[in-house]
Amino acid sequence: MQLEHLESVVEALLFSSDQPVTLKKLQAVIPEASLQELRTAIADIQKNYEMSQRGICLEEIAEGYQFRTKLDKASWVKKLIEAGPMRMTRAQLETLSMIAYKQPVTRIEIDAIRGVDSSSILKILVDKKLIRIVGMKEVPGRPLLYGTTIEFLEFFNLKDLSQLPSLEQLRELKGREKSDMPLFAKDTVEEAELIADQSSNLTKSSGS
């Protein structure tokens, strides 16, 4: 097959799928092309979209390929698309990270790290399809094991799990920049102290 022709076929296939298309799948559809030819075609398409003034780019997602809008186009697309983004709380993100790094992992193991019960968060994450039950641990009680899904990779724009920084890298990167960390809970405490002051004033005045 002519390389230019192959490129257009691959482009059509990638365009028409709403799920990342793997090389394996491409080859199953185009048996005439070798893996090497397919890779070249994809790389050429990628380059083409990146260089020119296009609104979309070809990304490697969940071990496949997918057309996505470019980052700086988000504000426009959001005006058009009704479906709102998935809301993620801090607790959900932290729990999700634990599962991503430790999978397959049981609820008890997550509870131990967080120091609180995680069952409701796990349920939310399963409902959001970011995690799934991957089996049962062969220990007494046979607890369920959780792992991340393909949707997890899709949601966070990841090619595979190795794209996440290792815990070692995190320690090196984050251990130094102490002051840079957001004190996200700060306001809550100050507010709480403020309310406590006010409420004690209230009780005083109501008592007098």
């Binding site: 365009f15 028409s16 709403d18 799920q19 199953a28 559809v29 996505r68 809008t69 980052l71 988000a74 959001k78 698309i81 479906a83 983004p85 998935m86 801090r90 607790a91 993100l93 932290e94 999700l96 990270s97 634990m98 991503a100 790094y101 430790k102 999978q103 397959p104 790290i113 967080r114 120091g115 609180v116 799934r132 991957v134 089996g135 792992g147 899904t149 899709e154 949601f155 966070f156 724009n157 595979d160 996440l164 920084p165 290792s166 815990l167 070692e168 995190l170 990167l173 102490k178 960390m181 004190l183 809970a185 700060k186 809550t188 405490v189 507010e191 709480a192 102290e193 309310i195 409420s199």
Partner: protein, 254 residues
Amino acid sequence: MSYQVKLETFEGPLDLLLYLIRKEEMDIRNIEISKITEQYLSFINVMKALDIDLASEFIVMAATLIYIKSKILLPKPPEEEAQEEGQDPREELMRRLMEYQQYKWAAEELEKKPFLNEDVFKIHLLPKEYSSDFDPKEGLVEVGLYELALAFQDMVARSRTVVGHVEGEEYRIEDKILEIVSTLNQALNQMVELKTLFRENISKLEVVVSFLAILELAKMGYIKLFQAGYESSEIHLKAIKEFQEIGGDSIHAA
């Protein structure tokens, strides 16, 4: 009059401790226990003053902190001192805080990624609806219980009859499911005849296990079974959803 206030506060006692440590610019590996304990308890008192229901985990942590503090303050009996030399009573807490801290970091990194449908968007096709029990391409209808039972009977009848010595056999539904999935994957989006999944000279046990595997796949919503309208015609299988193998990938953090 009493109020019941519910605030979105700290996720748990470890979260609160990490916050306090950061606020005091302490090192997790070298916590000033008395200072932290004092701050922790005053926070709990604030919460109590506000009549906020604190999770029992917060109280457990308060007890742990006081226990560690007392252990540091009290002189050790000489025989224990020799035993516990070099052991820091803060160690267990330190280990837990550090572990939690690194997942907090991981979460921060995760949050920096471009979110789908927030920062980046993909083509949005209408969900594939297979709710209709009719496949327009092939003109086939979905099979019911009766047809399945007939097909099963047919397969069993075709199975091998063993005369004489009987060998023990073992088949697992899990393996059969993977086998069927790979056959369906090779067929891409095409239909596969049910018959072709049962090889010649198959044993009765294998027929039973294969059938269970097919039923399981249908129940889980990965395949659909079709037939051309009348009983005697062949049953076809079609994959309708990507099959995710159980026990997927995992990364090993360094």
